[in-house]
Amino acid sequence: MIKTIAQINEKIKQGKVVVVTAEEMKTIVKDKGASLAVRNVDIVTTATFGPMCSSGVYFNIKQPKPKIKLGGSRVFLNGVEAYAGFAAADIFIGAAALSPEGPRNSIYPGEFKYGGAHVIEDLVRGKDIKLEAAVYGTDCYPAKKIKTLINIRDINEAVLFNFRNAYQNYNAAANVSDKVIYTYMGTLRPNLGNVTYCSAGQLSPLLNDPLYRTIGIGTKIFLGGGQGYIAWQGTQHNPLVKRAENKTPLSPAATVAVIGDLKQMSGQWLRGTSFRGYGATLTVGIGVPIPIIDEEAARHAAVTDEQIFTQVIDYSKVYPQGAKEILAKVSYAELKSGEIKIAGKKVPTASISSYYKAREICQILKKRIEGKEFFLTEPVAPLPR
């Protein structure tokens, strides 16, 4: 190891740290080589901004008088069902939660205009949220119902806890059937009418550290505009998939669970999102600093869209049935060109995750590190490899 994280933090303190965005790193390594880059660059900022359904918020409300036990009863926030299977005053709201009375997909394709993710965005933006519950009442918590407005300012704690985020690579989606389908990868037109994809590619955190050499449990990150941490590997974390020579996986692989104080975050980086015919989800902004500790770290962070590949999967039959066939193997550079070829046919492509916003997060994180507002942490345990 050429540099330790402690040494890099010392450089931040002294105002001598060199931070570049992942995009800038590609050029540096291309022009000067990895061995020179590792001496010149201390930190590379990476980011992603895309819909991540396994996201949610838990919070604790101030007790009314008389007190109420929400635990074990049904709780609603702006009509959207939240989970309260805990103690008296803790509530968890998931991004994809809906109102039990909403039209959902009964008028197909449903619009899913307001779900848990929209509640989260409203909460973080400081809007009042209507809390309603009818409960059974106990000797120590006698109140039987509550209907009140809550606000992020006056709830005790509010914590964003997302148990699967920042997928290391993801499928590109297509539709080979003869009718339009509505999926979490967007609206897919019939007969290979379009292909959608959802990764920041060369800016994506886990694609710049493909073997999780520096990103681990305890890594401090930019989360929803504030600071957060990687709490654990995410659900469906699968490091054992096939990889390219540059070690980037060829299909969805690692994931992370992240946690952070919602009260520090902003609605700009946590967006309620609606997929027609599918549901509600939260678009989350995540930025991860990668310490360039050695030449291998520099080489990994130099990976470009031309060198990262994913699989195009049919979402009309293959995905729903859990089959394995792939339609094509394509690079992110090809996907970003706006058109790919599948079996000789030209198919237009569109992105779901925002590269533009991911770039913005890389810049913000870079400024925060240079401004001594953000120091790196040493992982306390690695992600499973």
């Binding site: 339009v180 609206t187 967006r271 678009t283 237009p348 779901i352």
Partner: protein, 135 residues
């Protein structure tokens, strides 16, 4: 001679009906198809320029409404909420008139209003509700 550009949204059950033929035959209107998006069993969309007698034109519009066709005058009233847009680019692959353009370096998506035909495809597909069309 009256002339107007209009956008028609056909519900899927009407896609098989010869609506445009009726406009021509029953109301003696001259038509010029500017854009179409009609697939079997799917909602259809057509942008037309209609020319003819004003009285006949009004009757034709009444007929379209009676048939359950959503109708709007083609105008430049699709707007983008700049606060809500995240520049993902999902709109790019559905826009029939190439009104969206992506900067290949920054991946910023610009909306070129002058190319917009107000069809509303982007409104349906935008997950952030950034695109709005006023009827």
């Amino acid at each position: 001679m009256y002339s107007n550009k209009i956008v028609l949204h056909f519900p899927s059950n009407l896609v098989d009906k010869p609506i445009i033929y009726k406009l021509c035959k029953d109301f003696d209107l001259e038509f010029n198809i500017l854009k179409t998006f009609v697939n079997p069993k799917e909602e259809g969309l057509m942008v037309l320029e209609l020319k003819g007698d004003k009285e006949q034109y009004d009757k034709a519009i009444k007929y379209l409404k009676k048939e359950g066709i959503k109708f709007q005058t083609l105008s430049k009233d699709v707007t983008r909420d700049e606060e809500k847009c995240v520049h993902c680019g999902l709109c790019l692959s559905v826009c029939p008139s190439s009104a969206f353009e992506v900067n290949l370096e920054t991946r910023e998506v610009s909306f070129r209003k002058e190319k917009c035909i107000a069809c509303g495809m982007c409104v349906d597909v935008c997950p952030y509700k950034a695109m709005k069309v006023k009827f």
